[in-house]
Symmetry: C2
Subunit: 246 residues, 2 copies
DNA sequence: TTATCATACTGGTCTGACCAAGATCAGACC
DNA sequence: GGTCTGATCTTGGTCAGACCAGTATGATAA
């Protein structure tokens, strides 16, 4: 049996993990399915229950499985939180990764906006419009403004109708929420940012409405670049009130 | 004790996990550090050793920690394999995610090539050139050709000097290796693909050498689009020998 | 001083047990 | 007959102690 074979070489934890992985990858274990009990799994694989628990716990943190107290273990649909956890840990140990993550976010979002131009429906447009309006309303508030900014960008990714892009984006956006907020705090220092924030987002919105991927992508990239420019100026203490070059 | 406090609310596994997470995120546990022994951890937290092992195993699959047999548990630098595992599982249960992952890969790679135009050094150029040469040499071999193709694209991402992009790309590229290979199998059906494969990669290479982000991005996107077109034709059985429209 | 070896440690695993609470089904009650 | 109740089985959650097999270290012998 190919299933048995895979579980023969390894021992202990690896054995159980490989056994379950195989079934999960092969599709014989689908989301919603309930696994056999830990004890039964242990006897079937010839290992002890603690070992089985290790494997189940491993699958749990990977978001593949959910252990329900006194109910059983069920297969779940993989979700975002895993990536979130990973990035959180990874970032904590490599602070310089933040700029890197930002690059990845730009990558995801620019691709997403291209897809959004093709796939977005009325609902998506409306969500974008609401987010856009919110940005205008909350332009003077750091917290609410940052949230509105975040929502707009998330709406773009959602409009791409790509699960993977959405997952990746949200896992990274979580780490960058403070960046949205801190950007808004710059508004006090740079009054020109108000028009930048409002106009840029509007132009992005319009490009999506026009279903013009190239223009949308370019506008979005420009938007990020200008944001970087503002942050750079703030860092070097260049507090003059002229707007960033466009 | 603030350390104790964080571990008070939860019980068992959560307790240990939270305890370790706190130290990991706070930075008091850095990559390279060796954790105290499982037994000691168990007594300090008032739990049994199997529970400690669950937590350590959880951190292991998250790539945060490495358990070395008879040596101890050490903190590691998070690496790719986690995302790889996750995507592998996720993909298995949502096959329609494959196209989605491809989109994410395009996103990463297009961003990477832009960065590569700015950051690539001589070493990167040389690696790209070698990969390009390899593509020409192995143009008639499905396996080696697919590998060469893969290497070229990976070289682009490496040249971006962005850890995060590299991590994301390699985790997704792993799932798409067969796509490289299957593309090469199309070469038999579409002789025009030979020039497509060679010329496209050369043009991409030249754009990076020229340090022209816009052109590089556009060329790369075009490259992907044409690849899609070939695959589409193969699906519908359109086996005519004309080259894909450019 | 050096080389060898005993010992204390480490992770890896097993056994068997207890607890608390959901799931189930038999039996009692209406 | 139908519904309700409660004993029992099963499930995850956990613990305690034990054994194995190598590693690391230090003490002892050369």
């Amino acid at each position: 049996m190919e299933l048995k074979r895979a579980a023969e070489g390894e021992k202990g934890f690896e054995k159980v993990f490989a056994f379950l992985r195989e079934r999960l990858l092969a599709g014989s274990l689908k989301p919603g399915d309930r696994l056999i009990s830990e004890r039964e799994l242990a006897t079937q694989l010839g290992v002890s229950r603690p070992i089985v628990r290790e494997a189940l716990r491993a699958l749990t943190v990977l978001g593949i499985v959910e252990i329900r107290d006194r109910i059983g273990t069920v297969v779940t649909r993989p979700d975002v939180s895993v990536l979130n956890d990973f990035f959180t840990f990874a970032l904590a140990q490599q602070a310089d990764m933040l700029d890197d993550v930002m690059q990845a976010r730009v990558a995801i979002e620019c691709q997403a906006i291209r897809l959004a131009c093709e796939r977005a429906n009325i609902t998506d447009f409306e969500r974008l419009q609401r987010a856009l309006a919110k940005i205008g309303e909350t332009i003077d508030e750091a917290d609410a403004g940052g949230m509105a900014d975040f929502d707009f960008h998330r709406a773009i990714v959602v409009a791409s109708h790509s699960e993977t892009l959405t997952v990746l984006h949200s896992s990274m956006a979580g780490l960058l929420t403070h960046s949205h907020r801190s950007r808004r705090e710059l508004v006090q220092a740079f009054p020109s940012m108000k028009t930048y924030l409002i106009d840029d987002h509007r132009r992005i919105f319009e490009a999506v409405i026009a279903r013009d991927p190239e223009r949308a992508d370019a506008t979005l990239r420009e938007h990020f670049a200008i944001g970087d420019e503002y942050r750079r100026r703030a860092l070097v203490g260049d507090m003059d009130k002229t707007s960033a070059s466009r």
